[in-house]
């Protein structure tokens, strides 16, 4: 008799386990994890990402949450170090019990966390590291938003070739010696082959380089007048500054990090009206609208840290929330992943192209718009719409 009661209750418990909610979901809240760069020199990215999460979560919660549940963001710092990302995600999963992940730091960091993500079937939206290594091979619960640097540079070089038509164009690329740089050069290579461009020089620099005088001298010697500038922030500014010193006239295509206000402040004095390609909007009514809405939820001081990473994170969380909403009250990770897979033409109110994950790479937001900087007044103007390359 005892045995039977025991066995029966065990079976009952086991069966209820099937209906038990996934971790991170209670009747009132859903915990979304965010592994972010909160310390160190790259923390301006983390700050912007946290801002995007906050705006999106506040907006969603103000409109009733996801089927009545509030979104709570749990952040862990990884300082851009991959081994710390792994530990941060372990803590988020084991100790904080998150349901899904929207905030994934850099490429190497996501790759380091991948074994954990796959093990836990964690619905993950990657918006800040759209590298091919992440969606190829595709992981079941990982959804990537963003064009590759390859497309961004291809789009810019295409525009320069077709619309700006520089005389006696000699093209050159300088890129970082890592996976990010490889994609930059891939875009350059594709443009060179597709349009039959004159490939003047291809240079690589080690990450952390501040002194680009040698590289720029080499480019000058090769006669480069269209530059694919794969350096970022201070590096990009130093490249342009050296180029200005040598009196080089050039059209410049840049990484999208160069549309962030701090980067513009560094690079603009060199006087080059450089181009950027990005998969989110930089100017226009969509952005103004966003900032107006954001003012309800964050302070002016926080808003000062706004840049493109805010937009991508906002979009990521909105898409995730949309998918979770479709699951109704029975919110499980499996259901969320399924819903994400079926996402089609999710409207981001003009902040980017429409988001659709119903492809075999679970990749979206790959349309690039090309913008040009006006170095004198430090504003951007859109040259093209969102186009797939």
């Amino acid at each position: 008799m005892r045995m039977r009661t025991l066995a029966l209750s065990a079976a009952l418990l086991a069966s209820t386990a099937a209906f038990a909610a996934d971790p991170g979901v209670t009747d009132t809240e859903i915990r979304i994890g965010d592994v972010n760069i909160m310390t160190g020199p790259a923390s301006f990215i983390g700050r912007a990402v946290a801002l995007g999460s906050k705006i999106a979560a506040s907006e969603i919660n103000a409109n009733g949450g996801v089927n009545g549940r509030n979104i709570v963001i749990v952040t862990e710092d990884d300082g851009y170090v991959p081994s710390r990302s792994f530990q941060a995600l372990t803590k988020l999963i084991e100790v904080d019990g998150i349901f899904a992940l929207n905030g994934t730091s850099g490429t190497a960091n996501v790759l380091a966390m991948m074994p954990l993500i796959e093990e836990n079937n964690l619905p993950t939206v990657v918006t800040t590291a759209p590298n091919e290594l992440i969606y190829n091979p595709v992981r079941p619960s990982v959804f990537t938003i963003g064009a590759s640097y390859e497309d961004a540079f291809y789009g810019q070089l295409k525009y320069i070739h077709e619309n700006l038509e520089p005389e006696n164009a000699v093209y050159g690329v300088i890129r970082q010696e890592d996976d990010f740089g490889v994609t930059v050069e891939a875009g350059y290579d594709r443009a060179v082959r597709d349009f039959g461009l004159k490939d003047g020089i291809r240079l690589r620099y080690t990450r952390g380089t501040t002194n680009f005088a040698t590289e720029v001298a080499q480019m000058n010697a090769a006669g480069v007048n269209v530059l694919a500038n794969g350096a970022i922030i201070a590096g990009a500014a130093n490249v342009l500054s050296e180029a200005r010193k040598l009196g080089m006239e050039a059209q410049v295509a840049s990484v999208w990090s160069e549309n962030m206000p701090p980067s513009v402040n560094l690079s603009a004095p060199a006087g080059y009206d450089y181009l950027v390609g990005d998969y989110v909007a930089l100017t226009g009514p969509a952005v103004d609208d966003f900032i107006e809405r954001a003012r309800q939820y964050v302070t002016e001081e926080e808003l000062a840290g706004l840049n493109r990473y805010t937009y991508v994170t906002y979009i990521g969380l909105k898409v995730l929330a949309h998918a979770m909403e479709q699951c109704g009250q029975e919110l499980t990770r499996e259901c969320t992943v399924e819903q994400l897979r079926q996402t089609r033409d999710f409207d981001t109110q003009g902040l980017s192209g429409a988001i659709s994950f119903d492809n075999d790479k679970q990749l979206s937001g790959t349309a690039i718009a090309v913008y040009q900087l006006n170095a004198a007044d430090r504003t951007f103007k859109a040259l093209t719409d969102f186009v797939e390359y």
Binding site: E94, A108, E177
Partner: protein
């Protein structure tokens, strides 16, 4: 009638310790460590694994710096060599982990000869700087030789199996690393008591006098480099097993400095010190986080904006305070406590 404490067999002479108390405490400690996974959750286990890997690295460094007196800042380079060797052998050549891990140590030891041979004449700071330069160059070479090391793409490490158990997750990983750590500590303890260890200590104390007494400096210095790098290479291999994805970002220079901080905080020259220091510094960020969670007000903007930086600063402050007030390190603290306990209520 017997008086005194006699050792009656060779086994007793050679034993690590002749005190029953020491053995029972050691046994108790090991039993605790073995029982830990039954009660602890996964996050604590990963912390313990990271701490144990740090212990292995610290014991290796201690052999070089604490026992032989050769200051080395190149640990991050040897860790990288060990990790990459283990990863490449496992993933590119399909070696089983029980072979690739010692191989990682051997390769690291051979590479350390490249550092050791030019450094034979150098002492103190100059040696430290040479090893620092070496660490830089190793990172650079790994990055630029993609044909061998996958370059900037990094290597995913998976499929390590011992007795058909996947040792890269949860409890099997914990037990595997625990076993390796215990073996390494035993190795270090025994080496230190042997003739080689005594030669090393003589070199540390006064190398000219050691030479005069007939200790071949070249041989023992190179041996110190090799054994230390072997152990550190194994630590690197363990790192690659735990975090399952390595690239050169993981092996930044800061690791060398942390390793040195571990053995100095623990107490230079003693293996127990290295162990304590490694555990202390591995858990320090968690402790700081816990303390902040207790005292900090999670809603103030100061907290949310700056808490991470403040935690980093607290780390540095703890190191400085320790060096200022307890230069003997944690092992000195332990010894003082022990003396106080056994002498109380007398002063000495």
């Amino acid at each position: 009638m017997r008086t005194g404490h006699f050792k009656e067999s060779y086994g007793q002479l050679v034993a690590l310790s002749d005190s029953r108390v020491t053995w029972s405490w050691a046994g108790f400690g090991i039993a605790l460590l073995i029982a830990l996974p039954l009660v602890a959750h996964n996050y604590l286990l990963t912390l313990m694994v990271a701490a144990m890997i740090a212990v292995v690295g610290a014991v290796g460094l201690n052999m070089l710096t604490g026992t032989t007196g050769l200051i080395s800042l190149g640990q991050s380079g040897f860790l990288a060599v060990g990790a990459y060797t283990n990863a490449m052998l496992m993933m590119d050549y399909g070696w089983p982990v029980l072979l690739s891990l010692p191989a990682a140590g051997v390769v690291a030891a051979l590479i350390s000869l490249l550092v050791g041979v030019p450094s034979l004449r150098l002492k103190g700071l100059y040696l430290a700087i040479t090893t620092l330069a070496f660490a830089f160059i190793v990172n650079h070479l790994i990055l630029h030789n993609a044909w061998l090391t996958h370059g900037p793409n990094g290597i995913f490490v998976s499929g390590a199996k011992v007795l058909d158990l996947d040792i890269q997750r949860g409890r099997p990983l914990y037990y595997f690393v625990l076993a390796v750590t215990v073996l390494v500590i035993l190795l270090a303890l025994n080496l230190q008591r042997s003739r080689i260890g005594r030669a090393w200590m003589a070199i540390r104390d006064h190398d000219i006098a050691a030479r005069v007494m007939g200790i071949d400096l070249v041989r023992y210095k190179l041996l110190a480099f090799m054994v230390s790098s072997f152990i550190v290479g194994i630590a690197g291999g363990l790192i690659s097993l735990q975090i399952r994805f390595i690239n050169i970002d993981v092996f930044a220079l800061i690791l060398s400095i942390e390793a040195l901080a571990m053995i100095i905080l623990g107490g230079l020259g003693s293996i127990a010190g290295a162990v304590l220091g490694a555990i202390f510094l591995s858990f320090l960020p968690e402790v700081i986080r816990y303390v902040f969670a207790l005292f900090g007000d999670p809603n103030s903007t100061l907290y949310t904006s700056y808490v991470y930086e403040i935690r980093g600063i607290a780390y540095g402050i703890v190191i400085v305070l320790f060096l200022r007030f307890k230069p003997d390190g944690l092992i000195g603290l332990w010894r003082d406590a022990r003396k106080y306990w056994s002498n109380w209520p007398l002063a000495y």
